[in-house]
């Protein structure tokens, strides 16, 4: 399980870093927010990201992708995290493409994956029904009828729901609301009868929404993989997304930390640089230590995702370990980022607040620290 980047990944990182700094700085997110753009992303920047091949990073070559693995996608996500790039990368590529390539039938993969790589299809992934992540809690139903299914229910915290053309919906095809068995994934068209998306404006200014399904009729061909998903298979997708999201969180936390250091070396009070105060130095050194641990967790988990020898259980443990650690550290660093900047850190004009807001949404998405510590403990047998 390599913990340092290989040469290709190093080059990818350099390219992604300079792209984000030059073309997608935090100003872009600020502009999207100020203009109240419901898409939540800039189409021109997204077009360049597609051009760079980021949509096909973890997609196999046979489906038009570049087979760079999740290690490659993680490297990109870490860099987009640095400048808080808001794009369809998480919903469409990390969650959507992963779900289709892991669970889809041959026909579904052949139809959809090349479109994702080409940037011709935007997706959303609808799993949560409660204000906290609990993927076993699925009350949305899909009832078999004629040559298809009828879906009813509601979803919340659906990233990119307002822009998605297709929405992947986790629905129950058998059993009771909290059963681990009996869940299926369906693809519904955003514009089809009975599908209703309400945009929800979140603190991080990314595109998000609530979804209701009212007697939505879908064909058999919309049933992803044409069968129910096991708990392990559904979690295999969520775990990949949790690790990818952790990579993004790492980038954001590292950037916030570097901005703190810069400020400590430049702000003067009491006639000295505030970075010379031991109270602040030790807190900075502790943050550095935690971030070094986060770096190792993300690298280790990303490598594991591309390692054929790892079992679902290995991945599950590493994913929960990584997301728990990143949630904890993202909270620490984003809070210290505001505190150490003092009054200016509280102003909207200054960028650091964007890091605090994004950190909290990313912490909640796909399971917070409590969810993942609990899951990790169970997976470790205590």
């Amino acid at each position: 399980m390599p913990l340092v980047l290989n040469e290709d990944q190093q080059m990818l990182q350099d390219a992604a870093k300079s792209f984000c700094l030059q073309h997608a700085p935090v100003d872009v997110l600020r502009r999207l927010r100020d203009e109240d753009d419901p898409r939540g992303f800039d189409p021109d920047i997204w077009a360049q990201m597609i051009e760079l091949g980021w949509t096909g990073m973890a997609v196999p070559e046979s489906y038009g992708g570049f087979d760079f693995g999740y290690g490659g996608l993680g490297v990109v996500l870490e860099q987009t995290g640095r400048t808080l790039v808001s794009s369809p990368l998480i919903a469409t590529v990390l969650l959507g493409a992963t779900a289709i390539s892991k669970l889809g039938t041959e026909a579904q993969k052949a139809e959809l994956l090349p479109k994702i790589v080409a940037g011709e299809l935007l997706l959303a992934f609808a799993v949560d029904e409660l204000p906290v992540h609990k993927p076993t809690h699925i009350a949305t139903t899909a009832v078999k009828q004629d040559s298809g299914y009828v879906l009813n229910g509601s979803k919340t915290f659906v990233l990119d729901a307002p822009v998605a053309e297709k929405i992947l919906v986790v629905a129950r095809t058998s059993g009771d609301t909290d059963d681990a068995a009996g869940r299926s994934l369906f693809m519904v068209e955003a514009d089809q009868t009975g599908v209703n998306v309400t945009r929800t404006k979140m603190v991080d200014s990314r595109s998000c929404g609530k979804l209701t399904l009212e007697d939505v009729v879908v064909t058999e061909g919309s049933h992803l993989g044409a069968q129910e998903v096991s708990d392990a298979s559904l979690n295999a997708i969520l775990d990949i997304a949790r690790v990818g999201l952790s990579a993004e969180m790492l980038g954001s936390a590292l950037e916030a930390f570097e901005r703190i250091l810069e400020y400590l070396k430049q702000r003067e009070q009491f006639g000295v640089l505030i970075g010379s105060f031991q109270a602040l130095q030790h807190r900075a050194a502790i943050m550095y230590s935690e971030l070094e641990l986060c770096r190792s967790a993300v690298r280790g988990a990303l490598s594991a995702l591309d390692d054929q020898d790892k079992t679902d259980l290995d991945i599950a443990r590493l994913a929960s370990m990584t997301k728990a650690k990143l949630c904890e550290t993202a909270e620490l660093v984003s809070n210290e980022a505001v505190q150490m900047h003092g009054g200016i850190g509280m102003t909207d004009e200054f960028d650091i607040g964007f890091y605090l807001k994004r950190a909290r949404v990313a912490q909640q998405f796909l399971g917070d620290v409590n969810f993942h510590r609990n899951r990790y403990a169970s997976l470790c047998g205590f």
Partner: protein, 383 residues
């Protein structure tokens, strides 16, 4: 590993059984007690990659370390870097074979965190230095054969510039030691006194008055060694693997388990948090090895690893106490298992982790200054 099973070597080496003596001899013959050291001086001559393979194989057969010593973990690496050929030829092979047990003469009664303020003096008289002063917290000084010692050779210059690094025999006239009893009841540390000790001038390592450079380098090696204490948690081990208290979660399940999980949800959460940190810390140590493949030995991150590893080990023992409850607080006698009594002593001993080898606070100072480039404390803004 259980304390009394460690093989420290030395003139009065003790072996728990004949097999551990044979194991040391066979490993030393191949130089594998110090696998990466040059063959010229008795080492194994292996590359870093090869030594990683060797360690993996040793771990696979569950082999005990053939030899543990401060010669291997601290003195050897700096002697190879700064010593002259005669010094290396004299001392390195004996370290490899475990013939001489070394101790570290660093801290003094008035010089703890402010180590560079040390006052033990060495004055040249002909071709010998005459050494006077005292050291404290000298680990196993009462059992050691030789000492590597920081002495002041110039009192007129700033404190860091007048220190030298010197080696001498603990059997020399004028050396005496006195064990210090710790809160854990054991006495691994000593006070060490030097009263007109005569040491050949040729035993001075590196340049006269440039000992601080060597001292700092040695401290990096020491920190790397101590940060290893934190690693035990990820392998789940305090010692053997069979006892019910071999790992924190195992102990918690034994004392507080109910229906397949730890019954107290708060304790369970804290143990999960600890175990996550331990596992990620182990990955970080491994990453630091991978990253230093090109570089020479440990770097500034050794301070971060030392800080974190020690805090983790202390956390492990506090959580063990909480998991085991009052049964973990026995001092001696009936009413407690050997394991429970042992944990109480280990818990007390763990408090020294963040003091020895540079306190947690000193490590954070080093990280702030050397890694993060933050300005010196109380430095005036220069415009």
């Amino acid at each position: 590993m259980v304390q009394d099973e460690i093989v420290w070597g030395g003139r009065n080496a003790e072996f728990k059984n004949p097999e551990s003596k044979l194991w040391l001899e066979r490993m030393a013959a191949k130089g594998w007690t110090c696998p990466t050291w040059p063959q010229e001086y008795g080492g194994g001559g292996l590359s870093k990659e090869e030594s990683i393979v060797l360690n993996q194989e040793l771990a696979r057969i569950n082999a005990r370390p053939a030899l543990t010593s401060f010669g291997i973990s601290m003195l050897g690496p700096v002697l190879l870097q700064y010593g002259n050929h005669e010094q290396k030829a004299e001392h390195i092979p004996k370290i490899v074979r475990g013939e001489i047990r070394w101790c570290q003469g660093y801290s003094e009664p008035g010089s703890g965190s402010d180590l560079a303020s040390l006052k033990t003096r060495a004055e040249l008289e002909g071709d010998h230095y005459i050494i006077n002063g005292s050291k404290v917290w000298t680990s196993y000084a009462d059992k050691a054969d030789w000492i590597f010692c920081l002495v002041r050779t110039d009192f007129e210059v700033p404190k860091h510039s007048g220190i030298s690094f010197i080696l001498f025999d603990m059997a020399s006239d004028g050396v005496s030691t006195k064990p210090i009893q710790l809160i854990s009841g054991s006495s691994p540390f000593c006070e060490t006194f030097f009263d007109d000790v005569r040491v050949p001038a040729s035993n001075l390592v590196g340049q006269l008055n440039d000992g601080w450079t060597i001292a700092k380098r040695l401290l990096q090696h020491e920190r790397t060694m101590i940060s290893g204490f934190g690693l035990a948690g990820s392998q789940g081990d305090r010692g053997g693997t069979t006892s019910t208290t071999a790992s924190l979660e195992k102990a918690a399940m034994h004392y507080r388990g109910d229906d397949g999980q730890i019954s107290d949800p708060v304790l369970r959460d804290r143990i999960a948090q600890f175990k996550i940190d331990s596992e990620v810390f182990a990955l970080t140590s491994q990453r630091s090895v991978e990253e230093s493949k090109q570089a020479q030995g440990p770097n500034a991150t050794s301070s971060m690893l030392k800080y974190y590893g020690c805090e983790l080990n202390k956390r492990r023992y506090e959580l063990l106490l909480q998991a085991i409850g009052s049964q973990s607080l026995g001092w001696e006698g009936d009413g407690f298992s050997d394991d429970e009594l042992q944990i109480a002593r280990e818990w007390l001993r763990s408090k020294a982790n963040s003091i020895e080898g540079g306190t947690a606070e000193v490590q954070l100072n080093i990280v702030a200054k050397r890694v993060l480039g933050l300005p010196d404390m109380l430095s005036l803004v220069s415009k």
